[in-house]
């Protein structure tokens, strides 16, 4: 065999597609010809190098980028409640859809992107990342002045967590699963709530947060701005009372229940939310903490 012939079939030799007699001829030539041997090693090296190319890691905001592009160029619908029997199921499914589509993970050293926040990723300088573990609520201001609520979850070690919600019009229904996943230590998971809140009726949505170390209810107001003061008269279990206050004042309240849920009575006139909460919690043994936009009530 001549060198040109051998070189022309080296790819087939590497692939293993040469006929057996041909392969033997080529092998015999390679044993005797240093130049063709070198050529064979080069081709083998190229094949091997191509096969061993490392995996490419996509950017963290890839999904948000895709969905933003698709949404901007299609009629991908906002969740709209339908009539009749399907009304709640339709709204819940659609809300879950858009809610999950709006979900993304941000690095702790800088917020990267938000689906439904206007496309281009731009950090919101006014909002500091939380440094403590737990769930938090932030309101992001868009260029047109709208304030969009975002739930932030951050833990100090890896753990499983999930978020469910109860629609206001079905308070006794089984909570719908919205998100389930693994929280990484030091990473903030951001869950935009705007689409969910837009898709439900009523004044407050009950979110159920559960992780290995924390189980709590989060009463998220549907509207904004909130009421500064209000007159309240109620008698209810603590969780229900807090839900009513979140609805009345349109402020997010988290409730991590203790071992028992006390019955509480409240009767205040023209009170701020803080005054109402302090009054409500007298004698319950609960702790009241304010974390930015969020009022946190921790059971005894």
């Amino acid at each position: 065999m001549r060198c040109e012939q051998v070189k022309s079939v080296l790819n087939e030799l590497i692939e293993g597609t040469l006929s057996e007699p041909m392969r033997q001829q080529v092998q015999r030539h390679l044993e005797l010809c240093g130049e063709c041997q070198r050529e064979f090693r080069l081709m083998q090296g190229i094949w091997r190098g191509l096969s061993a190319m490392p995996e490419v890691v996509p950017p963290a905001d890839l999904h948000a980028r895709i969905m933003t592009h698709v949404r901007a160029n299609t009629r991908l619908r906002e969740a709209q409640p339908r009539g009749g029997l399907f009304r709640w199921f339709g709204a819940a499914a659609a809300a879950a859809t858009l809610f999950l589509m709006g979900f993304f993970v941000a690095q702790s050293d800088g917020v990267q992107a938000a689906f439904g926040f206007g496309g281009k990723r731009k950090p919101t300088p006014e909002l500091a990342q939380p440094v403590r573990a737990g769930i938090f609520v932030e309101y992001r201001t868009t260029s047109n002045g709208a304030r969009l609520p975002v739930l932030l979850a951050r833990m100090n070690r890896e753990m499983q967590a999930e978020l469910r919600y109860t629609p206001p019009e079905q308070p006794n229904a089984t909570p719908v699963l919205l998100w389930q996943g693994t929280l990484q230590a030091g990473r903030t998971v951001e869950i935009p709530l705007q689409t969910l809140l837009q898709s439900v009726q009523g004044r407050v949505v009950t979110l159920h947060w559960r992780s290995e170390t924390q189980s709590s209810l989060l009463f998220m107001p549907v509207g904004y701005p909130r009421a500064k003061v209000a007159s309240v008269r109620l008698q209810a279990k603590l969780g229900d009372a807090l839900r009513q206050l979140a609805s009345l004042y349109q402020a997010p309240i988290e409730y991590a229940a203790g071992c028992s849920e006390p019955l509480v009575v409240l009767d205040v006139q023209e009170a701020t939310l803080e005054e109402a909460l302090r009054q409500l919690l007298v004698g319950t043994g609960c702790t009241l903490v304010r974390e930015g936009e969020l009022w946190r009530v921790i059971g005894p």
């Binding site: 061993a52 490419v56 996509p58 890839l62 592009h69």
Partner: protein, 236 residues
């Protein structure tokens, strides 16, 4: 058909869905937009990876990925399931890439493709002598040089080399993706390999180097090579 246990995994999140592609496509056709979201999560990494290999640029790759899924959204209702969704998506990505390059060429007033293998090929920069050619460094340098060389190939050759050698798609699937007869795919791929080999002539020593026994990668590379040989055997 994809029957994966979950639709998508990203750092810190898992959205579980055991539905096959066909079920999700049916759900999407019936108006369930969430099914589309799940399909995107299922394939976005693969699509991005192919787009990145084709462009060697993360921004362009993300743009191509987004556009490919937009095209998927617009035509999924007409998808009849004759090919696997992944095959169909590879085809969409290739087409988006070709369009992207055409647009780029128009803007830059440059010829669309570099000369074919019969003409003089563009030379790559000289090898970096300071590179430690052992283990990881050897493989990393090979990958870098290969990516640069692949970018010099004409578009069709580039797509074929990437699909066969890196994405490890069999000949039949590449024929479906490129809408070409099997024989044409094989002969064009051979030309593409020879063109690549010419481009890599200045890097001969880098690729002639024996596998380094102190690292695991060459063994993996040998396994991958064997796998591609098995694919070839199946194709025949």
């Amino acid at each position: 058909m994809h029957t994966g246990a979950h639709a998508g995994t990203r750092e810190g999140m898992h959205i579980y869905d055991y539905s096959t592609d066909a079920v999700l496509i049916e759900r999407f056709k019936e108006g369930d937009e969430f099914a589309f979201d799940l399909l995107v999560r299922r394939y976005e990494q693969k699509v991005y990876q192919l787009a990145y290999r084709l462009t060697n640029n993360p921004d362009d790759a993300a743009d191509i990925t987004a556009e490919a899924f937009l095209r998927m959204y617009n035509s999924l209702k007409r998808f009849r399931g004759e090919a696997q969704l992944s095959t169909w998506l590879y085809r969409v990505v290739s087409n988006v890439f070709f369009d992207f390059r055409k647009r780029e060429a128009r803007h830059q007033h440059l010829p669309l493709e570099v000369p074919d293998e019969d003409e003089e090929l563009v030379e790559l920069p000289v090898p970096d002598e300071s590179v430690d050619i052992l283990g990881h460094a050897l493989q990393a340098e090979q990958s870098r040089v290969l990516m640069e060389a692949i970018q010099k190939l004409p578009e069709y050759q580039r797509v074929m080399v990437i699909l066969f050698h890196i994405e490890e798609r069999p000949y039949e699937e590449i024929a479906q993706i490129m809408d070409l007869p099997l024989g044409t795919v094989k002969s064009r791929l051979n030309r593409a390999r020879n063109a690549l080999r010419q481009l890599l002539e200045p890097y001969r020593e880098l690729f002639e180097a024996e596998s380094c026994p102190t690292t695991e990668e060459p063994q993996e590379a040998d396994d991958a090579l064997r796998a591609s040989q098995e694919r070839v055997e199946r194709a025949d």
